[in-house]
């Protein structure tokens, strides 16, 4: 009855199937992705409930099958190449071991070896994988029995067709290196002879990752190395070349000393070659990287951590300066959200993949050419004397920088990827540009102005400079934009602000067929704009709506003004037509961009970036009454506060750039990821950026010196990204079309998602404002508002607009409750009701962790918050609240003491009082939902920490609530309940719990009978979800008549309910 559709959960295993396909373990699903097309090729449920923990591909059979394991189960999966980049996966036989599997490896010959969490070695003939069926109780028994000490990590490496090396890391910091020689006996049974080589204390905490190097050829005496990583935040390298070394086994040592290897004599330890720290928290894995010419065969390793980042290290041999080998950190990369890289794989053709708790797979070449920062020496343009330097600059095309120098020279610098720029002088020194100058560019044309107010224009096509206007005052700022004229020729608009002048000058320049047959823009029109007081222009754009031309100016204090250009020329200064409403901080508007709505020509969208970390979009409509502006989108970006610019890339992608502490960041808003990071020293400097598809070129000034760095390729590609970095705590689904799913997580973010059918969940927006994990989310009935609560009394109201071009869904945090951040109380839950009287006002009841509740009124029009009533429960934390009757203000609450309570308020006072307290569960009620029965009574369905589902019928006044309690409904706390629409007389109920089960129940109702006599519950179906720590269960809009369930927790999971 429950059919799995898809899920988005942590990626716990990865393996390359040849170069173009990567296999990934996501819950119990094995998925195949094309590495170049970055799309899913196939997906198959490998186990019924067990998650996949490892995947290996035998090297011989050119990528035709994979061995997958999870827990104590192994399964072979055939990977068949189907037509045109499609792959089909077919399940092979299932086998079971008697313990948890930590690693597996195919020998070059006939064997498959597996090592367990108790250091037992299981070796079988590979042929068992081809068996058709497998008796369930036939357990693969160890060939070398294990110890009783629990391991956190192990690695098997075959040294020959019959000899394998096993390295094991324990929970207590010890590492054991041992080997086994396998032989076949006459009766076909396998025999193993094992030998322990090293037993030593390697770390101060659990050893989470061990890896032995492939045989080393070029490193002198060192034939093989061991890399380990741990709880203690260090990565260590050990020399295990000497495998003739013999050590007593862990057992023997422990038997001798009574406890652990800590007391072991040093002689059982290999030489420690190097140790280094880099991650900010625990390190889960290490890998040796294949040697490469570009690294001069220096041995490299990579570590993967809880901090969601991976670090590349080079093992440097001893030098004159240092007598020991050292690990040099070559780069940190954080491709995943939140916490944890759980899996990693290295391909034969030098690429490396990581899988995160965020459900994303990141792919990158191992030996990517590192982007290098080049210093552009002043001597390049000021001759050997080197006295001149660059004052201001801008890009005239993606590779050419136009610059003015201190001596008043105009030059261009052609940026080369692998070399210093080529400098061309375009104008000898001009006195007007000496010491001070500003410049701006649009594609192919640059402008410069200085103290005398003379504006020069440089056209790159002709490499010529023209003087275009003399303003007589020192230029304060230049801003430029281009406009498409009806005759399809580009017109250039230049806005000039002058020092000590309250008007800005706008020039229109259009290409003009000059006497020398060059198409050079010449001045056509000139306008003056009257700037409001304290309006310091920081950004500019021009646009035309239905033939009328307008200009938008952004100011340093955050204001934005629209000026309409009069149809007839006037020498008078034009006054602003409208000043846009703005929210948030009075920080500079750094860029403005106009996007016309293709469907409604009288309407358009004005995008702006601000120095308050946000990107905002206004919708602007030109009506008979003038401009009608509405803020439809404003979200905080994951960097800033200095957000500086924006570009629209192909396929409706928005890219935004700015700074985060010492770095320049380019962020793809559509893909929700960083695409470029340059360490440039921070925001307070002169810089220019030319965006490109997968990066761009940044030029910046640091200590009066010019630097450049370019990126032409993304550092990594992401598949199925967008997930939360931590567990989801709340989810809510909108009633709109398309349907939006809102999820709120422990990572303090709220995300909006869309989904349809089997298509993967697509993250549309990330709402960053909460400083604590999200507690509850609820949509207004019309889907226009989303409400969210968290700790510290945080409560926000979000206005959501569908179909905003380029950004999809527009979101604005319209209001935060005035008490947000004022205490350490958590708003555990809340319920909203639209008020009838007022157009857009809501009544919101909130329940708090200190056993109190408050009813507020919020008016969307004026942002007004008013306390309507408040009440005190007892001492238990309230967990849920429902409005039973909006008119009379009746409420129902649930609490951690297992009680449901009914509340009333009398209109005369501000007090809310509970009058009925009804014990349902033994311990906390974690979820409560309500359903109104045809006779007007209310059915409250509750899920408890006590594994029970309660069905409580609340009839009219005077009668006590009656409960039917289904004990042992789940094996663990029930956190999700939802009513599934079914037939008339019956009701279907779905429940989800932290036992990772989703269950379906039938509720039979004979409401003519009193209390719960006529209520019965029948179990219908159960399924196991890959989502751990389930926190919510919600209904999605039915598809093909089938109800769909969404389970959230550590990941998201979708099921259909067949009725």
């Amino acid at each position: 009855m429950l059919r799995h559709v898809q899920h988005h959960v942590p990626v716990t295993a990865l393996a390359y199937l040849g170069g173009d396909v990567i296999l990934s373990g996501e819950g119990h699903l094995l998925r195949a992705y094309g590495t170049t097309i970055q799309r899913q090729l196939a997906s198959i449920a490998t186990f019924s409930r067990q998650a996949i923990h490892g995947i290996i591909i035998p090297q011989r059979e050119a990528a035709t099958f994979a061995l997958v394991w999870g827990g104590s189960l192994i399964r072979s999966v055939k990977c068949l190449e189907a037509s045109e980049g499609r792959l089909s996966l077919e399940l092979g036989s299932l086998s079971v071991l008697d313990d948890w599997i930590l690693d597996a490896a195919f020998s070059p010959g006939q064997y498959l070896a597996l090592v367990t969490a108790h250091n037992a070695l299981v070796v079988t003939h590979r042929s068992i994988l081809n068996r058709e069926a497998h008796p369930a109780d036939d357990v693969l028994m160890p060939l070398v029995p294990g110890s009783n000490c629990i391991l956190y990590s192990a690695h098997i490496q075959w040294l020959s067709a019959s000899h394998c090396l096993i390295t094991s890391g324990t929970a207590f910091g010890d590492v054991i290196v041992w080997s086994a020689t396998i032989s076949s006996q006459a009766d076909g049974k396998l025999r193993a002879e094992s030998q322990t080589h090293y037993t030593f204390s390697a770390h101060d905490g659990s050893v989470f990752g061990v890896r032995t190097s492939p045989p080393l050829s070029s490193s002198g005496d060192r034939k093989s190395l061991l890399a380990t990583c741990s709880d203690d935040r260090s990565v260590r390298i050990w020399d295990i070349s000497d495998l003739s070394a013999e050590s007593p086994s862990m057992e023997q040592l422990q038997q001798e000393t009574g406890f652990g290897a800590k007391q072991t004599v040093r002689q059982h330890s290999p030489n420690r070659v190097a140790s280094a720290m880099g991650h900010t928290s625990r390190i889960w894995q290490v890998r040796f990287l294949p040697p490469n010419v570009s690294t001069q065969n220096v041995l490299q390793i990579m570590s993967f951590g809880e901090d969601a980042s991976n670090i590349k290290w080079s093992l440097l041999s001893p030098t004159a300066a240092s007598t020991v080998s050292t690990l040099r950190q070559d780069g940190v990369e954080t491709a995943h959200q939140g916490k944890h890289i759980w899996s990693a794989a290295v391909s034969v053709d030098n690429s490396i993949a990581t899988g995160g708790a965020d459900g994303a797979v990141a792919l990158r070449p191992i030996h990517r050419r590192q982007a290098i920062t080049r210093k552009v020496d002043d001597t390049l343009f000021s001759g050997p004397s080197g006295t001149d330097n660059v004052k201001s600059y801008c890009f005239v095309d993606s590779k050419t920088l136009f610059a003015t120098t201190a001596e008043g020279m105009m030059i261009t610098l052609r940026i080369e990827d692998d070399d210093l720029p080529r400098v061309t002088e375009v104008s000898p020194p001009l006195t007007g540009l000496q010491k001070y100058s500003v410049s701006i560019s649009v594609s192919g044309i640059a402008f410069a102005a200085g103290t005398e107010g003379v504006v020069y224009m440089y056209t790159h096509e002709h490499r010529r400079v023209f003087e275009i206007v003399k303003l007589g005052r020192k230029a304060a700022g230049l801003f430029a934009d281009t406009a498409k004229r009806p005759n399809d020729q580009d017109e250039v608009c230049l806005l000039i602000t002058s020092v000590g002048c309250t008007a800005a000058t706008l020039l229109f320049l259009a290409p003009y067929l000059g006497p020398n047959i060059d198409l050079v823009p010449v001045l056509q029109q000139k306008w003056q704009f009257a700037l409001p007081q304290t309006f310091v222009v920081t950004s500019f754009t021009q646009f035309a709506v239905e033939g009328c031309r307008s200009v938008a100016l952004g100011a340093r204090n955050g204001a934005i003004c629209i000026f309409d250009i009069p149809s007839a020329h006037t020498s008078e200064a034009v006054e602003p037509s409208v000043t846009l409403p703005h929210l948030c901080a009075a920080e500079a508007v750094t860029s403005l961009h106009w996007m016309l709505d293709e469907w409604a020509s009288s309407e358009g969208y004005l995008h702006c970036t601000k120095r308050d970390s946000t990107h905002a979009v206004y919708s602007l409509r030109n009506t008979e009454l003038g401009w009608v502006a509405q803020l439809v989108h404003q979200l905080t970006l994951p960097f800033g506060p200095n957000i500086e610019g924006l570009s629209f890339r192909q396929k409706q992608r928005v890219c935004i750039w700015g700074f985060r502490s010492k770095h320049f960041i380019v962020y793809d808003v559509t893909a929700q990821r960083e695409i470029m990071t340059v360490e440039c020293g921070g925001a307070h400097r002169f810089w220019a950026f030319a965006p490109a598809d997968e990066g761009g070129t940044l030029v910046w000034t640091k200590a009066s010196q010019l630097f450049q760095q370019s990126q032409t390729k993304l550092a990594y590609n992401l598949i199925s990204s967008g997930g939360h970095g931590r567990e989801i705590k709340a989810a809510a689904v909108s009633s709109t079309t398309p349907q939006l799913i809102a999820t709120g997580a422990e990572d303090t973010n709220i995300k909006l998602w869309s989904t349809s059918g089997e298509a993967s969940l697509l993250c549309l927006q990330t709402l960053r404002k909460h400083n604590t994990g999200i507690q509850h989310l609820q949509w207004s009935n019309d889907g226009r508002y989303l409400f969210s609560s968290g700790g510290f009394e945080e409560f926000h109201v979000w206005a959501v607009t569908l179909d905003v071009p380029y950004i999809g869904v527009g979101v604005v945090c319209q209001s935060s409750h005035p008490r947000s951040g004022t205490s350490d109380l958590r708003i555990m839950s809340f319920d909203i009701e639209k008020q009838d009287e007022v157009e857009a006002a809501f009544t919101i009841v909130m329940v708090y962790s200190d056993s109190t509740l408050k009813r507020w009124s919020y008016n969307c029009e004026n942002g007004d918050w008013r306390l309507l009533a408040e009440g005190d429960y007892l001492t238990a934390c309230l967990t849920n609240v429902h409005t039973i009757d909006a008119d009379s203000g009746k409420l129902m609450t649930a609490a951690t003491d297992g009680n449901l309570s009914l509340w009333t308020s009398d209109n005369s006072s501000l007090a809310l009082r509970w009058h009925t307290r009804h014990s349902v569960h033994q311990n906390a009620i974690l979820i409560a939902i309500t359903h109104t029965l045809p006779d007007g009574s209310i059915m409250a369905i509750t899920g408890g920490d006590d594994n029970a589902i309660g069905i409580t019928r609340i009839s009219g006044a005077g009668s006590e609530p009656k409960t039917l309690l289904v004990s042992r409904a789940h094996a663990a706390a029930i956190t999700g309940l939802v009513i599934v629409p079914a037939g008339e007389a019956t009701l279907m109920l779905a429940s989800a719990a932290i036992d990772q089960r989703v269950k379906l129940w039938r509720v039979d109702l004979d409401f003519a009978q009193p209390g719960v006599h006529g209520v019965d519950l029948k179990f219908l179906a159960s399924a196991s979800t890959a989502v751990a720590d389930v926190s919510s269960l919600t209904m999605l809009r039915p598809e093909d008549q089938n109800a769909r369930l969404l389970v959230c927790g550590v990941g998201m999971d979708i099921w259909t309910v067949g009725i």
């Binding site: 969490a117 741990s230 203690d232 038997q255 652990g260 720290m277 900010t280 604590t772 200190d850």
Partner: protein, 375 residues
């Protein structure tokens, strides 16, 4: 205010400091005792995974010093006040202490308490503290020797002539965040504790251990049910509702015939107590009963979910600690004039402390890691 999502210091944290407990866990054991009368007729106890030692403190105060620690220790006085305010004239409100069963208050004879942990533990008078790994077989002879000084480690016997009445274990690994792995490691600790209990527990003895109530916990319950007459899962009020933590309380130890605890083949890794394929409970159909409190309880029976061959069983749940107990999930206003005390026992240094210190020396950032303090 920084980014954080949980207030770590709840009422129990404060109470622990005020009452001199080394950890707030003390209240979990006290509340379990209140419900299950764990210490009744008990004088010989093994406390596994005992550091920093608050459970041992409870044992010491109750068994050695003969103290009676009632619910007054964790009662939120406001609860009754508030309730009384509401229900004036309602006789149903009685003093809960008057209802509490009278308990022996004298020190007991022949008390023997052995505490084991990986981490060193500050000594407690009258308690033998051992530093050992409970998952390791070499710990069994250590424990036997501690229980019975005459025990001859050379003998292969792993059964003690001086059996104990109660084995408690509060062991938990450092969780990684990889749920499957954490559940597995926790279950291994539970097996290790049970394995030790099988060696030292006298028939009829009790066993209490921490368990993660999550995926496949019903497999563990089913196994425990084989060796104990009753198995319940309990959640003390002092344990947060939001955590997966709970405690299995098993009473009346009755090892199946022919069952012998084994050093070489301990329980856990591969060896289960499945002596026969019989279910550990009798198969029942759905039952519908009306309880005293008026709630109609529906038990759907055992066969509601027979989708795989593994034997699963859901232990009955019992919340413990009266409703008047402080709520571990609630935020509390501190009483007027309250002074915060420092923890009496510094937390054991986590392995990364050294890393942090080294980082600090190098002038590096702390990163996201904070030194944790007492739980």
């Amino acid at each position: 205010m920084g980014k954080s999502s949980k207030d770590k210091r709840d009422a129990y944290y404060r109470l622990a400091k005020e009452q001199g407990w080394r950890a707030r866990s003390a209240f979990k054991l006290l509340q379990l005792d209140e419900e299950f009368n764990l210490f009744e007729d008990v004088s010989r106890v093994v406390d596994l995974c005992a550091a920093p030692g608050s459970w041992s403190q409870v044992l010491s105060r109750v068994l050695i010093q003969g103290q009676r620690i009632g619910r007054a220790a964790w009662e939120d006085k406001r609860y009754k006040e508030l309730l009384q305010l509401r229900q004036t004239g309602d006789e149903s409100m009685q003093d809960s202490d008057a209802l509490a069963p009278a308990r022996t208050v004298s020190p007991r004879n022949d008390v023997k308490i052995v505490a084991i942990d990986l981490q060193p533990m500050s000594p407690l008078e009258g308690i033998i503290c051992l530093k050992a790994d409970i998952t390791h077989p070499s710990t069994i002879p250590l424990l036997l020797k501690a229980l019975d000084p005459d025990y001859d480690p050379a003998s292969t016997s792993i059964e003690t002539a001086h059996a104990v009445d109660l084995v408690i274990s509060d062991g938990a690994p450092d969780v990684t965040g990889l749920h499957d792995l954490d559940i597995y490691v926790q279950s291994q600790l539970l097996w290790a504790a049970l394995n030790l209990a099988l060696c030292v527990l006298k028939p009829g003895g009790r066993f209490v251990a921490k368990i993660f109530r999550s995926k496949d916990v019903d497999l563990l319950y089913a196994q425990l049910k084989v060796v104990f007459e009753t198995v319940a899962v309990a959640k003390p009020r002092s344990s947060r509702a939001s955590s997966v933590e709970a405690f299995v309380v098993c009473t009346n130890f009755r090892p199946p015939k022919g069952f012998k605890a084994s050093l070489e083949k301990p329980l856990g890794a591969g060896r289960s107590i499945r002596t026969s394929q019989k279910l550990p409970y009798s198969q029942t159909g759905p039952s519908r009963t009306i309880r005293e409190d008026g709630i109609t309880e529906l038990d759907l029976g055992s066969d509601s979910d027979a989708e795989d061959s593994e034997i699963r069983w859901i232990a009955p749940f019992l919340a413990c600690g009266d409703l008047s107990a402080f709520d571990a999930d609630a935020s509390h206003k501190l009483p007027e004039g309250h002074v915060s005390l420092d923890p009496i026992q510094p937390p054991t240094a986590p392995p990364y402390r050294k890393a942090l210190e080294e980082r600090k020396k190098m002038g590096g950032a702390y990163g996201k890691t904070k030194l944790s303090s007492i739980e």
